[in-house]
Every structure is written in C-alpha cells, then in structure tokens.
Symmetry: C2
Subunit: 479 residues, 2 copies
C-alpha cells in the first residue's frame, strides 16, 4: 500500500524545491492532474471531478527531481510527471494520488552544438519554444506535432511522439541522441552523446516511450537540421485509397522522403477539398519536400512521376499550402465539436504495407459497427509501412451511458487492430486508454516490461498502473 502525503512530506518537499514551488491548492491539483484525454474533457464539461494528486511540486533541476523521488520512494508515495499535459490517453492521471511533479520550470536550452547539429535541452521546454529558438539560429528540429504549442520535449520522448514532417525527419525516438534520466530510486543516469555505438543494449530506448513509469527524463540531446533552403508543396487526387497508397509506397520505394505526406480517405477528402471549394471526389494526397534545392527538386520530380503512374491528378499547391497554414485550427476546437456529438476522439494505429489497407478497412468497419462516423488520413510513412489516424464522432444517443459507449468503441477498434497484426498506437501512446490491450500488443514480451518495472522501481512509485500495469476495473474507475 502507498503512504499518504502527510504534512511532514509537504514540508520536506518545500525544503527540496522551495516553498513557492509546492502547492496543495485544489485548483493546482486539478489542473496538474489531467491531460486532454476525451473522458477528462467530458468530465470538465459536465462539471465532474477527476482523480487528483495530493500535492503539486515544481522542481528546478534533475538534482531536485532526484531528492523528490528519494523522498517518495522512502515514504512509498506515488509520483506522476507532468510535461505539457497535452496527451490524449490519460497517461498522467494520478489514479493512486500522491505527488504530481510538473517539470515545466526546467525549460532551458542548455547547449547548441552547430558543428554536431545537436541541441541539448531540459525536458520541460515547450516544443514550439525550441523550434522558434532553432529557427532564429537557422535550424529546425523537424518535429511539428499539432500539440507543439502545448507539449514538452519530455512529453514527446515519454510518449514516442510524431510530428507532421516525420516522413523526412522521423519520430522523436529517431531524433534523440542522449538522455539524462532520474531513476525511481533517485539515481541520476546519463547516456553518452555519440551518434552510434556498439557497447551493449540501447538503454536510451528503454526510457523513450516509458510514459513516466521507469524514470523521469530531465534532459535530452536532439539531432537538428539546417533550416531548409527550399520547400515545395504539391497535391494530387487519386481515384481511391488503394491508388493513393500505392503511389505513396512507391514514392518511398524509389528513395524519396517527402516531409509531409497526408493521404485522406474519401470522407476526409470531401471535408478537406470541399472546404476549399474544389471538387471533393476521390482521395487527396498532400506532399511537401524540403531541404537543399537540387535534392528537393529531384525528389519532387520523381514523386510526380510516381503519382502520375498511379493515376494521380495534379491539384497544384493550394490544398497542401492551405493545410500547412491552417493545421493548428482544429487542435483547439475539440470542446466546440463536442457540443454537437456525444463522443469525439481519435485513434492512430500502424502496420506494415502488406497489412495497412486491411487495417484501415477493419478498424473503420469496427468503428462503424459502434454507430460511429469515422474519417481517416494516413500521415506517417516508412519504407516498410505507415500509420492511420482515425478521427470519429458518435452522434448523441440519450439512453446510452457515454462511458459504456466509449469503451465499446475503443474495444472494437483495438481488437480489430490486433486481429490484423497492426500496432495499437503509432504516436499517441498507451496511458490509461490502451492499457487493457498492452498484453495483446506485446504477447509474452510484456513480461519484460513488467520485469523492468519491478527491477527499476521496486516500490512501484512512478506513475503506478500506467502502460498496461493496471486492470480494467481501475481504468473504469476513472471513466
């Protein structure tokens, strides 16, 4: 059992991080105990509360994080780490109370190495602040998730985040070179900042994606790129999804790596092209290429050849540029959308090429089976496969309990994904919402995650229950 947060613990926390960096006020505890998971939003709109921590602390350094964890470990108090709170999976919900540790005071750029094209930052830095800093110096990280104004580097890393240019620059796990991590017992470790090495397992990739259960990431070294000298936007219309997917697959096969690749299914195309006053048929593909002028020109040429081979109709740069300009508009719009529907949510999944199209149809059918209206785009591609991003709404059904409906939708989608052999998440992470499917996702290797948790966090204080360590009943207790 966990110890409670007694007044002497509060006093000790104050002596570690300073009095003004500890709060037990209800407002702080509420605000810092939630992310953007749909059930949180729903509770907010209904005026219901959600599970909250007993105290919020704002440490200013890895050393302070270490002291907080040592204290929590000694007194068996749960600790949840808060970055930007922009997650959509309930990953930071302090379901067993305890301490929320908000890392946003640790928000400095520590080093810009222009020779090695590496930036070293504290984990609490907001994504857009880093990107703007880099842009001013002539560089880019190339990591533009739609949450970029609201999310932190630490959060990106903890959840294996992807940005809209991932096709060229990779996901955050492809950008990170080294980490500084505080272990649950307070030990501070660092991985070496070298491009590649052959000195054992990659320990860094243990903490990337660990969603706060194995350690607290306090610093990261990330690979950066010169700000592109040229950017080309272009768009195509394909007669159906299959033709569009084959075009993208062959673009990658020929060695081209566009920055943006967004292929919309027919419903999403209707909305997207319709809003531009263009004929809204078929499937829209948006592409961008960026980097050195000569290379970018050659890439756009090869991609154009491939698109034409697959029957793509050139639509010019308008749809692509329009999307790029307005890409953040929808992000802040979710509460507004909810007024018209019972449930609004997103599910992203991934698969190899040979299963990608089937994954689309099976998840779509599963969602539709739950009375849901889904639309989808494919926006993160690799030589060997890609991801699908479903956005769906469920019209109001006054007699159906919303949480039952919610879990039936998620169950149908997750089970369909596992049946096809896809992965249940491409870049949003696990949190609470996918926890019930982690054993099916990993099979027997889930035991290794369990063993890692036990050996690194013997008292189970770090974000207990998350990343699949929680039973259905506890997930349902929250929603």
């Amino acid at each position: 059992m966990y110890g409670s947060v007694t007044p002497d613990i509060i006093d000790e926390l104050k002596s570690i991080v300073g009095e003004k960096h500890v709060s037990t006020s209800l407002v702080d505890r509420l605000v810092c105990s939630r992310d953007l998971w749909f059930p949180m939003l729903f509770k907010t709109l209904k005026g219901e509360l959600w599970p909250t921590a007993d105290v919020v602390v704002w440490p200013g350094s890895a050393e302070e994080v270490s002291e907080v964890l040592k204290l929590a470990n000694k007194r068996r108090v749960p600790v949840v780490t808060l970055g930007g709170g922009a997650g959509v999976c309930g990953g930071l919900s302090p379901i067993r109370g305890g301490i929320v540790m908000d890392i946003k005071r640790m928000c400095k750029v520590l080093e810009l190495d222009e020779e090695s094209l590496t930036v070293v930052v504290q984990a609490g830095l907001i994504g857009m602040e880093l990107e703007e800093y880099l842009n001013r110096k002539g560089y880019t990280l190339g990591h533009y998730p739609l949450s970029i104004y609201a999310s932190t580097i630490g959060g990106f890393l903890a959840c294996r985040s992807a940005g809209v240019l991932s096709n060229k620059y990779g996901k955050i796990e492809d950008m990170v070179i080294a980490l500084r991590v505080v272990l649950p017992t307070g030990e501070i470790i660092e991985t070496k900042r070298v491009p590649r090495r052959a000195t054992g397992p990659d320990l860094m990739q243990l903490f990337v994606g660990s969603e706060g259960i194995l350690g607290v990431i306090t610093e990261a070294a990330l690979r950066i790129h010169p700000y592109p000298e040229k950017r080309i936007f272009t768009s195509y219309r394909f007669k159906d999804l299959h033709a569009g997917l084959e075009a993208v697959r062959n673009i990658f096969r020929r060695g081209v790596r566009p920055a943006i690749v967004r292929l919309y299914d027919e419903r999403d195309t209707k909305i997207t092209l319709g809003s531009l006053g263009l004929p809204a048929e078929g499937c829209l593909l948006i592409l961008s290429f960026e980097g050195t002028e000569k290379l970018v020109d050659a890439e756009a040429e090869v991609a154009d050849e491939v698109c034409r081979q697959w029957g793509g109709e050139q639509l010019g740069d308008l749809p692509a540029k329009h999307w790029w300009k307005h890409r953040h508009d929808q992000y802040w719009n979710l509460p507004h959308l909810l007024k018209g529907f019972m449930i609004v949510d997103t599910i992203e999944v991934s698969a190899p090429w040979d299963r990608l199209e089937r994954l689309y149809w099976e998840v779509k059918r599963a969602l539709e089976g739950q009375g849901v209206i889904p639309m989808a785009h494919f926006s993160h591609f690799y030589l060997d496969g890609g991801s699908i991003y479903f956005t769906f709404v469920k019209p109001r059904e006054p007699k159906t309990p919303i949480n039952d409906a919610y879990w039936r939708i998620w169950s149908a989608a997750m089970e369909a994904c596992i049946r096809v052999g896809g992965s249940i998440s491409h870049h949003h992470g696990v949190g609470l919402v996918r926890s019930p499917w982690m054993e099916k996702e990993h099979g027997k290797s889930f035991e290794i995650i369990r063993a890692l948790k036990k050996v690194l966090d013997p008292n189970n204080i770090l974000n207990p229950g998350k990343l699949g360590m929680v039973g259905w009943s506890e997930v349902r207790r929250v929603f």
Copy 2:
C-alpha cells in the same frame, strides 16, 4: 557455482537436437570456442589452446534453443551462442566452459515481403547468402561488413554491426524491424513487426547489442531496399584531414547521404593511393552514391560542390572503384601480416563532430606512445558525428611479453577515447577486449545493464562474464 556438463546432460542434449547435432570432440570444441580476436589468432599461431566449451550443440529451431536453455538453466550450465565466429573481441570465448550453441543450422530465409520491403530470416544465415538471395530478387539489405562471407545475421545483431554502405543504409540496428528471441529461462518472445509504434520501451533494442548475455536471437525481420538502379563512384584528395572531415560534415549537412564514405588519414592515403601508382599526398576521400538515378545524380552534384569548396581535388572514379573491387582482399590477410609484426589489430571508436578530430589525434598519440604504428580511416558518418577505424601494427620487441604489450596498447587507446568523450566501440562490440572499460563507457547507467542481466538471467548462464560483467583478472586469464 556452475554445474558441470555430465554425461546425462549430454544425453539430454542429444534427445533435444538429435544425436548427430551434439559433439564433444576436441576439434569441434576448439573450432566453436573462438572468434577472430587477435589473442585467439596469436594462440593458434603459437600452438597454444584457448578456453573451450565442454560440448557443442547445433539446434535446428527456436524451440530446440528453448529446450537447451531450459536444461542449462536448470542445471546451471553456461551457454555461449556461436554465429559465424567472425567477431574480433573475444565475445564468444566460453571462459567458464559449458555449452557452445552454434546457430548456423538455422539459416533459412523465412519470408520475403516485397510489398513491405521486409525479409524475415533465421539468425544463423550468413550475411552474403542473404545478400545474394536478395540481389537475385532485385533487392539489397545494404549491409556489407568486410566479414560478410563469414558472419551471420544473428552475429550482426548481437554486436551492432556496421557495413561499408552504412552512411546510406544505417547500421544493423537501423535495419531491424522485429526479433524473435529465446530468453535465458527458455521463454520465446517476439516483438511486433510494425514500422514504428508508441506502446512502451523499445524492447528489441535491448537485445540488439546484447552480445549473447540477455537472450538468443533466433529470427529477425529486416528492412530491405530495391537494388539501386544507379551507382556513382568518385574520389577526391584533400590537403589534410581537417579539410576532408569538413567536406564530409558539410555533405551530410546539405542532406546528401552517400553510400560509401571513406576518408583516409595521411599514412593510409600513402598506402592506398601509392598502391595505385597515384601521387600519395594529402588525404583521400572515396564516395559512392546509389539508388534512383535522378536522386543519385543530384546527390553527386551537391557533394561535388561541397568537396570543391573545401579544396578537394577530383581524382575520378579509379581509387573508389579499386577499393570497392578489392575490399575483401585484406580481410583474409591477417595471419600473413602477423609474420612481420608482433601485434596487428584494429580499434574503432565514434564521436560527435565537435570531438571527432580530437578523438583521432588523441587515440593516435596514445597508440604511438605504445610504440605502435597506426593508420586510420573514417568510414561511418552521421549528421551528428562519425567513427574512426584504426589499424595498427607493433614491430617485434623480443624482450616484451606480447600480452602485456597488447593490453598496454588497448588501455592507452580506450582511456584516450573515454577522456575525449567518444564511445569505445562503433561496431565491433565489447566481448572480452573492451569489458574492462564498460563501466567508464556507461557511467552509472551500467548498473541498468547489470540489473537487466540479473532479472532476465537469474542464474547467469548466458555468455557469463561478457559485455563488461567480468573482472580484469578473468580477462587476463584468457590472454
């Protein structure tokens, strides 16, 4: 303490893998208990023995591997896994006896997925057999280590191997999509074959580089590429190493990814260009570009611009093509070279760009301080850094014990590397030779490797002592 390999264990092994796949003959035990580490070679030439296993088994499937490990775990018998035996670090030396498990019977291509550009193979397949299979089908893995005729996919993965085209295709850890692994307790686990996901830590990267201490890799899914439609070779001469390195750094910075990049230091240039009858001054740079014609042409053009900016003199394609054609000649030549010298060995290290040149000078000085004649080339580059490959000979000194001299050379090089902040290995791995420096390489995070070993292999049966788990005294017992 370990149990010994008693006759009943031999009988049980026979019942698992079949009688003809178990051997206790001295020749088999000797041949299967060594790699190409210099001390092994030296012992061979001197007619001395090296540590040998008590029995050799050749399992035919993951299930048989599992049964062997269950038996070994129950009876506390060490197990070392043998791939091609082409390692150069003593990594498979069975220093505590027991079983050597040769996986080369597991050598099938299980699946070629031409849609997802993925090949699934058994771990005992020889690299060149896979590459030739793929070439016949119109593909390439892009992994060409010089040992490719003698080494296995499992060995590549266990040691984080790099091939000569790594600049474009990455190291083996960048090519692997999924693994099947038998844990020390006999449990068989599989990671999911998806391009990317966000469902926790990357467990696959725990076993990649684990050099046989955490599990036995029995299958791997690897990313493949269409066989390049065009290949361009070119060469440049720079006035010194600094100019050559700046050219390469800027080639990468401009987004070009040559397949081959080899920059030779002045001594290596003398030998390489001299043998072609060309003026042997300055530093030679060899480049190749491969893939889709339009992209390759653009890459070669941009690279040429950069090389000229840094004072590079175009030498045409001869040096590059000559190297490509004769790249395997030296590989088989080591015993011959040893006739003229006391010690012949190689050390490869890596560092970010801002430390790469200093790493070269410091390791070179350290080697020269030990009376060694070093030469070096830089052949694996990244946006954020690169690796250096030192080849060195030590002239005969009749009065110096060869093993003392050997360890003084390695100590000097390793300590210099750690001082500069480089990594002690880029792609050869740790084995025995780098074990004494693993704690310095990893700092406190080495404790995590120790903890992983303890939790996955509670009886310490898998390749005990390797990857830094061994003390100096045991290393020196072998050589």
